[in-house]
């Protein structure tokens, strides 16, 4: 017979968990807000029995025991209820009586997150705070050789181009002969990366869209946002705001039935079409919207039944070769909008990126290439994909740019870089570094979630439960009780703050380098790094 107090292999103590809840009995008012807000029910009401030994000095009375009952918090230790460190308990506690603290050594929970043989899946990003981009410095400052420009006084034109740009000879020829010129969009170099309707809550999506519209229409900043794979609400498809939106098509083709049906009703063309072949967070793996988040609205927009997991295949299943997958698909999508809309692929950074790029150079309809590095975020993926698959963006982007320089097409196919930009908060510095390494612009998602909506996730495995629809901030949840925590108006306001702040910082970087009238794409002579190997690899200066 099994004893009652058996220790199973997966029986963990609080010490074995990544996060420990510190609770202060003195401060706690027993209001219960922390236990009700905890997204993973890691804490519950605890009824504790406590023995006190009472000893009166002297020999007259014998020592006695008093048994007391007190109420408080109990942290659960079952793997499925382990604290995720989001800190919502601290946020709601009126007395600051509770806080999760990160353990002082690697946790033991990681060995037990495969109950039933199902490995850990999560949202978020690669759990590594390292960033080569953060180490890059801007070393070429104009001072005495020539006056540096004034970020506050001079006029700046920090726009980029999205679309296939004809070489000057062909452009002049096409102009003379009234020939076709590929569509080119002049846009802001910081794009809100693809986060789908479904991955994000309706309130978050609405807030982003409102913020982007405000930036365009009131601030004169041509900011663009990509939908991700999940379709687009029909009201937006039929509105004038569609021109600020990049529609994404990916291997699950979710939402494209709606989009195709909305085509005749569109007042404006979308900014562009992004064909997703891969993403940095889980290269070689398809998109994934887990069943928790597939509610009635999401199911309607995506054209699927409710409550089923929606994995996209790793590849576009109908295509059997790079020519099919890239060339024909780009052509088909271009044709759908009468060749008026730029169409470009997005791939995850990999050592095969150059093969895709070479293919694109020979395709007159390819409008660019977006490359997403290993630090890209996601709503849901296997932990192993997120932490171990993929290629850092810096060297991949640099190789791609220098390859274009070699064939003389560096201005013809704009490269957009994503994955880890601003992962430690240095959005403008990371973006400027990538632009000077050769990117025409950058895409960012995580930073936007953190800055505009207060996402709690981090590279040290905090929260990261975007996949199960329990986002405590209502950013990635589809549960109305959680969504309503997020006010779309306030998200929109933060988006405007983020972009105007970014704009000032970008000027503060490029002005001292003597650049203002055009984005310093490929101005690698401005960059330095205190790592000889990185400098050699990126072909920038080694500085100490």
């Amino acid at each position: 017979m099994e004893s009652m107090g058996c220790i199973t292999p997966s029986k963990l103590s609080i010490k074995d968990l990544p996060w420990q809840i510190l609770w202060n009995k003195e401060k706690c008012t027993l209001c219960g807000q922390c236990t009700s807000v905890c997204p993973v029910q890691a804490i519950e009401l605890g009824v504790h029995r406590k023995r006190s030994v009472q000893v009166t000095p002297g020999l007259a009375e014998k020592p006695s025991n008093v048994f007391e009952i007190y109420h408080g918090i109990r942290q659960r230790t079952e793997p499925s209820y382990a604290c995720v460190g989001c800190g919502m308990c601290t946020l709601v506690c009126p007395n600051n009586a509770i806080v999760p603290m990160h353990g002082d050594e690697p946790d033991k929970l990681r060995y037990h997150r495969n109950a039933g043989g199902e490995p850990r899946r999560r949202g978020g990003r690669r759990n590594s705070p390292d960033s080569v981009l953060d180490k890059i410095k801007f070393v070429r400052i104009s001072m005495l050789t020539d006056p540096a420009l004034d970020a506050g006084r001079h006029e700046f034109e920090l726009r980029t181009l999205l679309g296939r740009i004809l070489p000057p000879e062909e452009m002049i020829k096409a102009g003379r002969e009234n020939g076709w010129m590929p569509p080119v969009r002049e846009i802001y170099p910081l794009i809100i990366g693809s986060m789908s309707f479904g991955a994000l809550s309706p309130n978050m999506w609405e807030g982003l869209q409102m913020g982007v519209s405000y930036l365009n229409e009131e601030m004169g900043m041509p900011v663009r946002i990509c939908t991700g794979e999940g379709g687009c609400p029909p009201r937006l498809l039929k509105s004038r705001f569609l021109k600020y939106v990049i529609l994404q098509i990916a291997s699950g083709y979710f939402g494209w039935d709606e989009i195709i049906h909305a085509l005749p009703h569109m007042k404006e063309d979308p900014c562009a079409i992004e064909i997703k072949y891969g993403q940095g967070a889980k290269p070689g793996d398809g998109g994934l919207l887990m069943w928790y988040k597939v509610n009635k609205l999401i199911a309607a927009i995506r054209g699927v039944p409710q409550g089923v997991s929606l994995p996209s295949p790793p590849t576009h299943q109908t295509k059997y070769s790079i020519e099919e997958a890239v060339a024909k698909m780009i052509q088909s999508m271009s044709m759908a909008w009468g060749f008026r809309v730029p169409v470009y692929p997005k791939i995850s950074a990999t050592s095969t990126s150059l093969a895709v790029l070479n293919n694109l150079t020979r395709n007159p309809y390819a409008a660019g290439l977006a490359i997403d590095g290993e630090d890209g975020g996601t709503g849901a993926a296997y932990n192993v994909s997120m932490d171990h698959m993929g290629h850092p963006i810096a060297s991949n982007l640099r190789d791609a740019y220098l390859n274009l320089v070699k064939v003389g097409k560096q201005n013809e196919i704009p490269l957009f870089a994503g994955g880890g930009i601003g992962k430690n908060g240095n959005l403008a510095a990371n973006a400027a570094a990538l632009i000077m390494l050769g990117a025409s612009g950058v895409q960012t998602g995580k930073y936007i979630m953190q800055a505009a909506a207060g996402c709690l996730g981090s590279e040290t495995d905090r929260c990261n439960i975007c996949n199960i629809g329990l986002c405590p901030k209502g950013i990635t949840s589809q549960d109305p009780r959680l969504d309503r925590r997020l006010d779309p108006e306030k998200v929109a306001r933060r988006i405007v703050d983020v972009f105007t702040g970014f704009d000032t910082e970008l000027k503060k970087i490029v002005a001292p380098l003597g650049r203002s009238t055009s984005l310093p794409i490929g101005m690698a002579d401005a960059l330095g790094i205190a790592d000889a190997h990185a400098a050699e690899r990126l072909k920038i200066k080694y500085v100490l």
């Binding site: 070429r140 104009s142 050789t145 020539d146 006056p147 420009l149 001079h154 006029e155 034109e157 726009r159 181009l161 740009i165 004809l166 070489p167 000057p168 000879e169 452009m171 002049i172 102009g175 010129m181 080119v184 002049e186 320089v405 070699k406 064939v407 003389g408 560096q410 201005n411 380098l513 003597g514 650049r515 203002s516 009238t517 055009s518 310093p520 794409i521 490929g522 101005m523 690698a524 002579d525």
Partner: protein, 376 residues
């Protein structure tokens, strides 16, 4: 900041006119080098208008190598002007064996070749000689082109000119570009000295070119062997003009539209805005940020001057029919052409291009807002 002076005159002038103009602008400058470009030649060279002239500095070994190379190509020397200064050079100027200006007769088998082919071959000879000489510094080639002489040297312009005896009567030209400093932004190299020359086009520049690297990458990836060198960030100005003129077939009025295009909202209001916007997009890597004043000479011997889009550098043009000059400072102009109506002096601003044609009758001005002539 470099001192720049350019003059165009109906009567051939000694290069000393330009050197003296540089000298009065000396105050506050380091005077570390001199570069000269002479064309529409007078003096002895008047008789060899169609024949290519080689300009450069050669060691004694270099001269022998040059002779061997040119004889192999069947080039024959028709006339030469060599300086072998015997006395000690001025402070800062290296002792050289030979400063060479040689007029060659074309090889017999070049007869019948198209003008484009001849011009390409001349450029290739110049590049190959330069490459040969780079190994041991035995040859430094500045130009190989009909009706063009160039000279570059380290040191104070006036001291170098007197040392070389540039006031000799054989050396005269109607169009002279001169520049008075070695480069400061990259390592000192005589090839970094302005003016720069490619296939009949010469330019010189004031200021640093902060957009140098992307522009250099763009030019070098055009697959044209002449787009090479780049010891100075200013050399790209010459090559952009060449690319625009020879490869794109655009006139000088488009130069500003390529290096300093109008802003997007300005283009909305321009009569050719749509086309100019496309041009701006296609030539995006050629956009400069300045601060730069560019002066140059076109194959038809016209002189021009343009400024960066913020007009951060000085530059003035003035003169009278028959003689006009461009100068980075007013005092240079005053010295070279004191008898002129100073009210007609003109300082081009951020949208303007000024041009003095070979007839030397007036200062022609174009504004980027003007309608484009070739589209009308």
């Amino acid at each position: 900041m470099c001192r720049l002076f350019a003059v165009t005159c109906n009567n051939p002038l000694s290069p000393m006119v330009a050197i003296r103009a540089l000298d009065v602008m000396k105050e506050g400058h380091d005077g570390s080098g001199v570069g000269l470009f002479l064309t529409d030649l007078g003096g002895e060279f008047e008789h060899f208008k169609g024949e290519p002239i080689l300009s450069g500095i050669f060691s004694n070994e270099g001269i022998k190598a040059l002779d061997r190379y040119m004889i192999d190509l069947d080039f024959m020397v028709k006339y030469k002007l060599s300086f072998r200064p015997g006395k000690l050079p001025p402070s800062g100027t290296p002792k050289r064996d030979n400063y060479v200006i040689r007029v060659y007769e074309y090889p017999a088998d070049w007869e019948g070749l198209s003008e484009t082919e001849i011009q390409f071959r001349l450029m290739m000879v110049q590049l190959q000689l330069r490459r040969l000489g780079e190994k041991d510094n035995s040859m430094m080639i500045f130009s190989f082109w009909p009706d063009v002489i160039m000279l570059k040297e380290v040191g104070d312009p006036l001291a170098v000119a007197e040392y070389l005896g540039l006031d000799r009567k054989e050396l005269q030209a109607r169009v002279i570009l001169s520049q008075g400093r070695q480069n400061t932004n990259y390592s000192i190299d005589i090839y970094a000295c302005h003016p720069f020359f490619i296939q009949g086009i010469a330019t010189m520049t004031n200021g640093e070119n902060t957009a140098f690297v992307p522009i250099r990458e763009f030019l070098m990836s055009r697959n044209f062997p002449g787009y090479t060198g780049y010891q100075s960030d200013s050399e790209v100005f010459t090559h952009i003009l060449h690319y625009m003129n020879r490869k794109l077939g655009l006139g000088i009025e488009m130069y500003k539209h390529i290096i300093t295009p109008l802003k997007d909202d300005e283009l909305e209001k321009h009569s050719a805005g749509l086309w100019l916007k496309k041009l701006k997009q296609s030539c995006r890597p050629l956009i400069i940020d300045g601060p730069n004043c560019v002066m140059g000479c076109l194959p038809d011997k016209s002189l021009f001057m343009v400024q960066d889009s913020k007009k951060l550098r000085p530059g003035v043009v003035g003169g009278r029919p028959g003689i006009f000059a461009f100068s980075s400072e007013m005092c240079g102009l005053d010295t070279a052409i004191p008898e002129r109506d100073i009210n007609l002096d003109f300082q081009p601003m951020k949208y303007e291009t000024v041009l003095i044609r070979r007839e030397r009758q007036e200062i022609e001005k174009w504004n980027q807002w003007d309608a484009l002539p070739h589209l009308n």
